[in-house]
Symmetry: C2
Subunit: 764 residues, 2 copies
């Protein structure tokens, strides 16, 4: 009786608190709509996660195989985050998801409750009743920060999800059922294919605890994830089926019935079921903890983070964490703007993800177990995307975490057999995705901005070592010739441009640390962008080994023209570290403005759009591709011309056209928060055109007021006078009472606290 | 100059010491001939290992696949230890081998040196030049305890091997070669098949150090072994080839040339090469450390056990370890007898094997990392074989190690999801091989003999839990009915008999610990052998569920007659714990003697021999099968009749017929030392008919004199008067000056030290 009483009492108390809280002004979670970006190309997921959480517990509406009949299946791309808004069925709820990536992996440990005759096959979308998947409707779906709810219509089961950093918490409300099942599908995965599952190992420790691991080889080539799964009540029987096409050697295991109530299961393609009898309205809860280290680590995480069975408390704690993080920026704006802004902040604060047990242990790149000494270890570094605005945003709003992320990168460097900083790393794996070595940009930005609770000298050494790895993607010949010849590399121009920018960022860090020889050397390297510019046509252009430019060339095409995720029109603007020099090289300000204007206004023929990866038609404005990253700084380049008002105009247009608080509200992949970080900066009125510089280029704020609560205890306020949809032009600016006539503010000006007032106008 | 001088000086010193030592009387290594049992059915290996070493570094003459075209390939059986004496080529030298098993696994990390054009395929025995394998001759082969040498004729490379507990040490003397290679074959393995390699992961850390791991699924279902490989000089280039039939997902790794000088390799079927230029006579040395824990663990083992590059010192240290262990028994006998005896002692002291890093860390059955607290963790428990004589031998000669082995079994029990003691365990895996639960015999024997530096009460609890696991192989119905019905199990009779013996051993342990209820209960269970005895025919016989005996039955056949590795003739004698009752049941002493006599003298028709597993024609005497274990106690059963002289006669005959100091000198699998332990006991004149009893049944010693140097500091001497080939009968015995008229001695009598004198005669 007493046991019963206390939870009920607490639950009532919590509900009261929650409803009070929900009405209070600092309930920012109400503006977070995780559903944004789940339709079409956003590749976000609607499920439950805490800030930077290791667990992303979210519904998967399909798990299309990466290959069919030995050929790439382009539909797999839709399911980078496991969920597509237009789908009619949910296959189950898995614990790991990338947010907004354009390639994918994960989808580990899919859980699905069901009733009736046991089905251990997921079935297909066109024949949903053929498997355990269930129909669902958006009418019953609730997606909040760290809370997801949906009715599984085939089974009349209400599914609710929440999470702590390392533990997914499921709550399934069953109907009365003689046959009720919880399915653990260890076959399912995102970007799955026949041989992706390398090994699965499961132990049923007792009638409420299951442990194990799965190793996969996908984007993460050697990726092992451990789990511990705890049930709120005992199952009365359990079993599994091994779906491996070819059974591995069985030996004396053959003398057991391994399919029923057998506690030790191993193989490549395992699906398990745990069976119950349920009363009407009975809740079966699951806690599912992850670890990169061991099942013991998962158990430690489980017992530390989620010791009890109070689902509402875990949800409330998770949403409180979100309110704390979201509360770092308070904005005054319309509801839609707030939804866009706080959902962007939510998406920005999802990645990178914590990657260590509660005791600091984590699996390293060498697949050995390491201890994070004095920092939180993170993974999911989509650096080609996130060095641009996400990490600079962290230097303002999450400086401690950003420094820990850099410590994590340095640990990766220490563990790397190539002695390189991460390129695109996840879960103790480097996947080498995209180009450049943009860790150096993140590190340089932190060094230049003085956010260095790590050893900046060692960090700079790591940057230098990375930038000198001759066998890495044309880097040797780049060092020798100053550009990558088109013969040796299909994306020779964009990679040359990216190297040049990265080198500039190394130079800035060296200068800050007083290493002037390094500064000079890398400043020289940073001018290599000049070597792929063809003045005869006014574009960056693939150059051959003999110094001549490649003859066949199309400035609009992104297909095999020497650029990655962009065409010459966009990439010719990619000298973020020296727009003034770029403008000079391209014929001066007037001609440059013409180039920019044309970019935003031209009509891109359909055949060129078809080549443009990762974005919808909405993700493009003229020939300006916002849905991909290489042009994210472009709108701000007008600031280096005589027409800075065009920056203000374009930024506001992009904010309006590219972001909507709807499922299809993202015009391209969110890319681990980079698209969101662009919105956050641009909404606040400034943007880091060249991370590694301490300057933010000024645009046109889209809120009435914003206060940045900084970790150092100071506040930086942005006040906007005469804000309005048409008042997109900045008439004047006043910083801390003094007129601001520059087109940038500095990092120090923000971090010292103070107030920047924009005076807006409908005319420029 | 100084660096050169010191090793040369040391080498000279070592060689002097070694040659002096080799001539001294306590150089017992000279009698060890690891080549014994390498021809035909012995399944021993000739390579280098230290006592109970984790590394068994030995040549593999072939790696026949377990399956060909989807069907079992019976030839694989010949290669249980990787080496067959009749073969003409060596494929390479791998680091793990079982000794004498009748099923197999391991063969991890095959190293092969070569010269000339690189071949990364092993080739086949019939087309040796098609791959990297090399011809060799026994003329250049030297196999000693912890030392192996052979000339690889195709390459004119002298290969030498030695080992520490966890490190294999290779020394290859090359000719002058512009192309010299060290091949690391990560595909090769024993009992290999297409999907056995689950994953391989390798890092080239620098130009002398390589680390990695391989996971396989074979007899050990989820087995992962880590390594660290150190070269004595830098390779100038390296590379690999992935032989996976289906390439796994490559992603952005495709932008690298992963085959050449690329430091991070992963996949399922990898072979690597490390390239050198060599001068004539140049030695390239390799140290290859193993760990079950991690590559860091392997590095720790490497640096702790083998810090230097002095091959001769490692060999000398290893052989000194062997002399120390072999010196526990000094025998006076002829050269051949000494070779048989010390080689048996050598083979007995190979298994079980150490299974932890130097810091006590090891991988447990749950695939988690554990620490052995206060004991050395062992693996390779071939308990169906070794509970009979090997572990009893350890209770005399290796009591500390035997107690550690029991601690290791108890740790296994703690980690077991079935909550069972090991059946046949290796490398953090239970393979469930054979029948019974003979851990309980090993534990009971130690408890009864007072060798319990572990918690005997906890150990007994583990025995009881194991014996009550109803879902284990007929155990539930055995508990209910007192026998396993023939309908439910193909080996119902032998398993019933084994359970009955195991139960008796539990009873003995319970009695010793004063748990008399348990004693009584298990003593009752131990009489279950009566339930499968058919008095109408005088044999043990399969019995059906309804209590009737199975009609169709052949007492000579081993094929589907209800017995494992034996027929009714042999298995009807399997009541080791109560021979007197057995004799009574079988019609009295006279009739029993007739049964025994017939067993040893009858002519077994060829068709029945053909069914007898694991042994050569030599492994059988009449219908007595010494090559398999279930009859190992049989010759001693005459001691319970009126004709004990026949025990003496038979034992001497078995010693002569079943053991020879030649490659084909073992008539059956050595079975991890059980065959050898039989020889050791029987040569000394006594045998543990029923482990769990403190009595050893007396036979006929085959030496002139033996001194057992016991760990407790005492000596037990066996003196034999009038020894001779024909003087096989014991005329009288004197123990510590008192006439001994019993047909047994007790464990305490041995362990208290003293002298037993046998007086021999040509007449009984």
């Amino acid at each position: 009786m007493r046991q019963l009483f206390i939870p009920v009492f607490l639950a009532v108390l919590i509900l009261c608190q929650y409803s009070l809280f929900a009405q209070s002004s600092d309930n920012l979670v109400q503006y977070v709509r995780p559903i944004i970006g789940t339709q079409r190309m956003g590749h976000t997921y609607p499920g439950a996660t805490v800030p930077f959480g290791m667990v992303q517990l979210s519904p998967d509406t399909d798990t299309i195989p990466y290959e069919q009949n030995g050929k790439y299946n382009p539909d797999v791309y839709k399911y980078c985050a496991g969920y597509q808004y237009d789908d009619k069925t949910i296959v189950g709820f898995s614990h790991t998801h990338f947010s907004g990536t354009g390639h994918s992996d994960l989808g580990d440990f899919l859980i699905m409750p069901s009733t009736g005759d046991l089905k251990l096959n997921p079935g297909t979308a066109d024949k949903p009743r053929s498997g355990f998947r269930s129909a669902f409707s958006h009418a019953t779906e609730v997606a909040e920060a760290d809370y997801y709810k949906v009715k599984l219509e085939d089974y009349n089961i209400l599914a609710e999800l929440t999470a702590t950093t390392r533990v997914g918490f499921h709550q399934y409300t069953f109907p009365a059922a003689d046959q009720a099942h919880i399915i653990l599908d260890l076959v399912s995965g995102i970007y799955n294919y026949e041989d992706k599952n390398v090994w699965t190992f499961v132990r049923v420790e007792n009638d409420t605890l299951v442990t194990g691991y799965r190793q996969t080889s996908g984007w993460g080539r050697t990726r092992t994830l451990y789990f511990a799964m705890s049930f709120s009540r005992p199952f009365y029987q359990y079993g599994n089926k091994n779906y491996s096409k070819k059974e591995v050697y069985r030996g004396f295991w053959g003398k057991f019935d391994q399919a029923h109530n057998f506690p030790e299961i191993a193989g490549k393609q395992i699906r398990m079921h745990f069976d119950f009898h349920t009363r009407e309205g009975e809740k079966i809860k699951l806690k599912f903890a992850l670890s990169s280290v061991s099942t013991d680590g998962a158990l430690l995480n489980l017992r530390t983070e989620a010791p009890g069975w109070d689902f509402e408390k875990v949800r409330q704690d998770g949403q409180a964490l979100w309110n704390k993080e979201l509360g770092k920026v308070l904005v005054d704006a319309g509801k839609e703007e707030k939804e866009n802004f706080y959902t962007s902040l939510y998406h920005a604060f999802i990645n990178p993800t914590v990657y260590m047990d509660v005791d600091g242990s984590y699996r390293g790149l060498d697949q050995g177990i390491h201890k994070a000494d004095g920092f939180t270890n993170y993974t999911t570094f989509s650096l080609w995307d996130t060095h641009r605005a996400l990490h600079p945003l962290f230097n303002i709003l999450q400086p401690r975490r950003n420094a820990d992320m850099i410590q994590s990168m340095l640990a990766h460097y220490d563990q790397s057999p190539q002695h390189m900083l991460p390129v695109w790393s996840n879960s103790a794996n480097e996947n080498w995705c995209m180009s450049g070595y943009h860790s150096v940009s993140v590190i340089a930005d932190a060094i230049v901005k003085g956010n260095t609770p790590f050893d900046p000298g060692k960090a700079l050494d790591a940057c230098i070592a990375t930038s000198q790895h001759r066998s890495f993607e044309g880097l040797g010949v780049y060092i020798d010739k100053g550009y990558i010849p088109a013969e040796s590399n299909g994306v020779s121009v964009s990679t040359t441009l990216e190297y040049a920018y990265d080198d500039w960022s190394i130079a800035q860090a060296a200068k800050k640390l007083g290493r002037m020889d390094t500064y000079a050397a890398y400043l020289r390297r940073s001018e290599n962008y000049r070597n792929v510019y063809d003045p005869s046509i006014g574009y960056m252009r693939p150059r051959l080994s003999d110094g001549s430019f490649k003859q066949s060339f199309d400035v609009l095409s992104t297909n095999d023209q020497g650029f990655i995720e962009g065409n010459a029109w966009n990439y010719s603007l990619y000298v973020p570290h020296d727009p003034a020099a770029l403008i000079g090289m391209m014929g001066g300000k007037k001609r440059f403005v013409q180039h920019l204007d044309s970019l935003f206004t031209m009509e891109l023929p359909d055949r060129f759009f078809a080549e443009t990866e990762d974005i919808t038609r909405d993700g493009i404005i003229g020939n300006y591709v916002h849905g991909n990253e290489p042009s994210h700084h472009v709108a701000y380049l007008y600031n280096w011309t005589d027409q800075p008002w065009k920056t203000q105009e374009r930024v506001r247009m992009i904010l309006q056209k590219q972001y909507r608080p709807t499922p299809d509200g993202l015009g391209g992949n969110d890319d681990c928060g980079q698209m969101s970080a662009w919105l956050i900066f641009s909404t606040l009125g400034f943007y880091p055109v060249a991370p590694g510089s301490d300057q933010y280029s000024l645009g046109s704020p889209a809120i009435r007021n914003a206060v940045l609560h900084l970790e150092n205890g100071k506040d930086f306020t942005i006040e906007v006078q005469d804000q309005g949809d048409k008042n997109v032009y900045v008439r004047k600016m006043v910083l801390n009472g003094q007129p601001l006539t520059r087109r940038y503010i500095t990092h120090a000006e923000i971090m010292n606290g103070g107030k920047l007032v924009f005076y807006m106008s409908a005319k420029h």
